[in-house]
C-alpha cells in the first residue's frame, strides 16, 4: 500500500513537472516541430528568423562574420509555414523578429498586418526603389503601395534545355534558334513529337506548362474569375502530351525528375524512388520549364551532364517563388531586424558574395546583376545566364499575380489531371473546377 502511494506520488509529480515544462516552453518555441528549435542553439541570439529554405542560414552566418550579430534561423516547410506564422502572429507573438514569404503568400500576410510598414521612418524603404527590379518592389508592397518586404533574389522563368539533345533533334543548340520551338503550346506539342521520334521526351511532366499560361491575364480580374483562352490551351496541350506519351512521367521533385538531369531514366517511373525497379523504355528529358533558381537544381543534380545545359526564352514571361523578408510587426527588435534585411537585400557586397557563392542564383540588385552580366555559367556551357535574366526580368508583369492564384491554380491542375487520366471530359472537368472555386471563393463572379 505504501509502495502504491509512493509510486502514485512520483507519477503525479512527473506529470505536473512535464506539464509545467510544456507550458513554459510554449512562449518562444512556437515554431514547433516544423523546424529547428530556436533555443536549441545554446547561446542567446540577437535575432530570430523564420524562413522557408536553408539559404537564409548562409546569410545569417555571413552576417555574424561581418557584424558579430548572432541570428537563429528556423526553417519551416513551405506547406506548414502559413499556418505556423498565422498561429504565432495571430496571437501577436514578438518572436520571430524577421519573417519571410513567397509572393503567393504575401497578400494574405499583408492583410493580416504581420509585416511592418517599411515605407515609414526609420526604414524609408521607398528610397531604395531604383536599386531593385520593379516586380520585386511591387511584390513587396501591399494594396496601398506600402512596402512590407524586400527580396534578395529575382526568379524569372525560362526554358532550360539539354544542348546535346537539342543538337541531335533539331540540329542546333543555339538559344535564339531554339526559342521558337517553345513559343506557343502548339509549337511545344510539335517539338515534343519531334523529340519522341528520336527517343526523347520534351518535358519530364506537364506541370511546367501551367507556368506559361498567364498570357491571357490574371486568374481574377475585377472580381471575376478569368478562365482565359490561354489557360484552356494549357489544358488541351497538357492532355495531348500526357495521352500521347510525349512526356517522361517524372513529376517535379520526384526521384525520377532529379535523375533525369543526369542521364537516361525509365519513361514511366512516376514517384518510384528506386528507379532500378522500373521496367520499360529508357529515355532522356530534353527540357524543363524552370525559374532562375532551377539553375541551382541543375547544378546540384546534372552530374556528368554539367555544362550540357542551355537557357532560352519561354513563350511568356513568368516568375516563380522568391524569398521576401520583412519585420514582424510585433517584434521588439525591429531596428536590428531592419539592419539584417538591408544587409541581405540592399547591400552590394552581400549580393556579389551571394552570386559567387550560390553559383547561379539571381540577385535583385540591378547594379550587381549588371556588373556580373558577363559571368559565364559552367553548368550551362559557359552561357551568360545573368545577362539573359537581366534582359527578361523587366518583362515580368506583377499585376498578373493575385491572392487567389495558389488555390485556383491547384484546383485547375487537378481538373487537368482528371482529363489527362480520362476520368472526366474537358467540359465536366471545367464545370467541376468552377464549382470548387465557387465553393472556396463565393465572393468571385463566375460565368459559365
Amino acid at each position: 500500500m505504501k509502495f502504491q502511494k509512493v509510486t502514485a506520488l512520483i507519477l503525479s509529480g512527473m506529470l505536473a513537472v512535464s506539464t509545467m515544462a510544456a507550458c513554459g516552453s510554449s512562449g518562444n518555441d512556437s515554431a514547433g516541430s516544423g523546424g529547428d528549435n530556436p533555443k536549441a542553439g545554446g547561446g542567446k541570439s540577437d535575432l530570430i528568423i523564420w524562413t522557408l529554405a536553408d539559404d537564409m542560414k548562409q546569410f545569417a552566418e555571413r552576417y555574424e562574420e561581418k557584424t558579430g550579430v548572432k541570428s537563429e534561423v528556423v526553417v519551416i516547410a513551405p506547406a506548414d509555414y502559413p499556418t505556423k506564422l498565422t498561429t504565432a502572429l495571430g496571437s501577436k507573438a514578438s518572436e520571430p523578429d524577421i519573417i519571410v514569404g513567397e509572393p503567393q503568400m504575401l497578400p494574405n500576410f499583408y492583410e493580416a498586418g504581420f509585416f511592418e510598414d517599411l515605407s515609414q521612418a526609420p526604414y524609408n524603404a521607398e528610397d531604395h526603389r531604383d536599386q531593385l527590379f520593379d516586380y520585386v518592389y511591387e511584390a513587396g508592397s501591399d494594396d496601398n503601395g506600402i512596402v512590407r518586404a524586400l527580396s534578395y533574389q529575382v526568379t524569372p522563368g525560362s526554358i532550360v534545355y539539354r544542348r546535346d539533345l537539342a543538337q541531335e533533334i533539331w540540329g542546333t543548340e543555339d538559344p535564339e534558334e531554339l526559342a521558337p520551338k517553345f513559343e506557343s503550346y502548339p509549337a511545344m506539342i510539335k517539338s515534343a513529337e519531334e523529340a519522341k521520334a528520336k527517343g526523347y521526351r520534351l518535358f519530364s511532366s506537364t506541370s511546367g506548362l501551367g507556368s506559361l499560361s498567364s498570357g491571357g491575364g490574371a486568374w481574377v480580374v475585377d472580381g471575376k474569375l478569368n478562365l482565359s483562352g490561354s489557360r484552356l490551351e494549357y489544358m488541351d496541350a497538357a492532355v495531348t502530351m500526357y495521352q500521347n506519351e510525349l512526356i517522361a512521367f517524372a513529376p517535379d521533385w520526384s526521384s525520377a525528375w532529379y535523375a533525369s538531369m543526369s542521364g537516361p531514366l525509365p519513361s514511366d517511373a512516376e514517384w518510384e524512388d528506386d528507379l532500378e525497379n522500373v521496367d520499360g523504355e529508357m529515355t532522356e528529358v530534353v527540357s524543363y520549364v524552370l525559374p532562375s533558381w532551377g539553375a541551382l537544381i541543375i547544378r546540384d543534380n546534372a552530374d556528368q551532364n554539367i555544362g550540357k545545359f542551355g537557357i532560352t526564352a519561354a513563350s511568356t514571361s513568368f516568375f516563380q517563388g522568391g524569398t521576401f523578408l520583412g519585420i514582424n510587426a510585433y517584434s521588439q527588435r525591429k531596428e536590428a531586424a531592419w539592419e539584417f534585411i538591408q544587409f541581405v537585400t540592399l547591400n552590394e557586397d552581400t549580393a556579389s558574395w551571394w552570386l559567387e557563392h550560390s553559383k547561379g542564383d539571381v540577385v535583385s540588385l540591378v547594379s550587381v546583376l549588371e556588373a556580373n552580366k558577363d559571368f559565364e555559367n559552367e553548368a550551362f556551357g559557359g552561357q551568360k545566364t545573368y545577362e539573359f535574366y537581366l534582359d527578361i526580368t523587366p518583362e515580368i508583369d506583377y499585376s498578373l499575380i493575385t491572392k487567389y492564384d495558389t488555390q485556383v491554380g491547384d484546383i485547375y491542375g487537378q481538373a487537368i489531371e482528371s482529363v489527362q487520366r480520362g476520368a472526366k471530359s474537358k467540359e465536366e472537368a471545367i464545370s467541376d473546377f468552377l464549382m470548387e472555386v465557387e465553393s472556396i471563393f463565393p465572393e468571385l463572379e463566375i460565368s459559365r
Binding site: T83, E111, N277, Q407
Partner: protein
C-alpha cells in the same frame, strides 16, 4: 470555541445542513480543465461561426451568412456524401466481421481457445497511428509497384495492375476497408463483452431444445446484444462522420482522385487552414454537429424503439 462552531452550524439554512463543500475542491481540477479545454473552445467556435474571422485580425459579426453558405455549398454536401459512403461500407464490414468473430468465439461446439490472444491481435491495428496506417496502405496499394497488385496477379485474380487509389470508387472502398480493419477489433471486444454478459443457461437451454447455431444467434444472441449494438453503432457513426486522417493522408490533403476522398471534416480543415476561412469552417463544424446529433438520435430511436416494441 466548540460552542461557537456549534452555533455556526445551527445558524446554517436547513438545505445546506448536509452539504460538504470539500467535494468541490476535489472536482475543481477536472472542472477547470474541462471548462477551459472543452466548453470554452465549443462556445468560441460557435461565436466564430457567426463571424468572418480569417484566423487573424478582428472578428466581424456577419449573422447567419456562414450557415446559409454551408447549406448552398455543393462541395460541402458532396464531401458529406463521400463521408456517408465511406462510413456506410466501413460500418457494414466492421460490424459484420466483428459479429462473425463473436459468433465463432462463443460457439459452444467449437470452443475456440486463445480468446485473449486473438482479442489483442484484433485490437492491434487500432494502436497503430493513422499516419503509419495511411502510408502502409499507400505503399501496399501503389498501382505500379504495390504488393497488393503483385499478389492478386500472382493468384490470377486480376490480369493487369489496378490503380486502386487512382479511381474514385475503388479509393473510397479501400478507405472504408482500412477503417474497418482498424476498428473491427474494438467492435469485437464490445460485442464479446456483451455476449459474455448473456447468461450461459439460455444457450444451453436452447441447445438442449434442439435450436441450431443460426436460431440461437437470431433468437438469443442478437436480441440480447441490442444495447451493445446500439452503443457500437452510435459511437461508430459519431467517429465515422468525422473521418479525416486516413483520407487526408492518402489523398495528400486534396481529396484526390476527383475529390472522392474529400470528407466533410477535410473540407472543414481545408477551409480553416488552407483557405483561411475560420468563421465558415466553424459554421461547417456546427452543421456537422447537428447532423451527427440527428443521425445519432435516429439510430437510438430506431434500435431501442424496436427493442421496446418487442418487449
Amino acid at each position: 470555541m466548540s460552542a461557537q462552531k456549534a452555533a455556526r452550524t445551527v445558524s446554517k439554512p436547513p438545505r445546506m445542513k448536509n452539504v460538504n463543500h470539500t467535494g468541490y475542491l476535489f472536482i475543481a481540477p477536472f472542472l477547470i480543465v474541462f471548462l477551459i479545454f472543452n466548453i470554452y473552445p465549443v462556445i468560441r467556435t460557435l461565436f466564430m461561426s457567426f463571424t468572418s474571422f480569417k484566423g487573424y485580425g478582428e472578428m466581424e459579426l456577419i449573422g447567419f451568412s456562414n450557415y446559409s453558405r454551408a447549406v448552398t455549398d455543393r462541395i460541402f454536401w458532396e464531401s458529406f456524401l463521400n463521408t456517408v459512403k465511406i462510413w456506410g461500407l466501413n460500418i457494414v464490414v466492421q460490424l459484420g466481421v466483428a459479429l462473425l468473430l463473436t459468433m465463432l468465439f462463443n460457439d459452444i461446439k467449437y470452443r475456440m481457445k486463445g480468446l485473449s490472444l486473438f482479442r489483442a491481435m484484433f485490437y492491434l491495428p487500432n494502436l497503430i497511428s493513422a499516419a503509419s496506417v495511411a502510408f502502409l496502405f499507400k505503399f501496399l496499394l501503389d498501382w505500379k509497384f504495390g504488393s497488393m497488385n503483385q499478389l492478386l496477379i500472382t493468384l490470377g485474380i486480376i490480369q493487369n495492375n489496378v490503380n486502386w487509389l487512382g479511381q474514385p470508387h475503388t479509393a473510397q472502398i479501400w478507405v472504408s476497408i482500412i477503417g474497418a480493419w482498424m476498428w473491427f477489433g474494438n467492435s469485437f471486444i464490445m460485442l464479446m463483452a456483451g455476449v459474455q454478459g448473456i447468461p450461459k443457461d439460455y444457450f444451453e437451454a436452447a441447445t438442449i431444445d434442439g435450436a441450431g447455431r443460426w436460431r440461437i444467434f437470431g433468437s438469443i444472441t442478437m436480441p440480447l446484444l441490442r444495447p451493445i449494438m446500439l452503443y457500437v453503432a452510435i459511437t461508430s457513426l459519431i467517429g465515422g462522420l468525422q473521418i479525416f486522417e486516413i483520407p487526408f493522408l492518402i489523398s495528400e490533403g486534396i481529396g484526390k482522385p476527383d475529390r472522392a476522398l474529400n470528407t466533410a471534416v477535410m473540407h472543414l480543415y481545408n477551409m480553416a487552414f488552407k483557405n483561411q476561412q475560420m468563421g465558415y469552417a466553424a459554421a461547417i463544424a456546427f452543421v456537422l454537429f447537428f447532423i451527427i446529433a440527428i443521425f445519432s438520435a435516429l439510430s437510438f430511436f430506431l434500435i431501442s424503439g424496436k427493442k421496446e416494441k418487442r418487449q
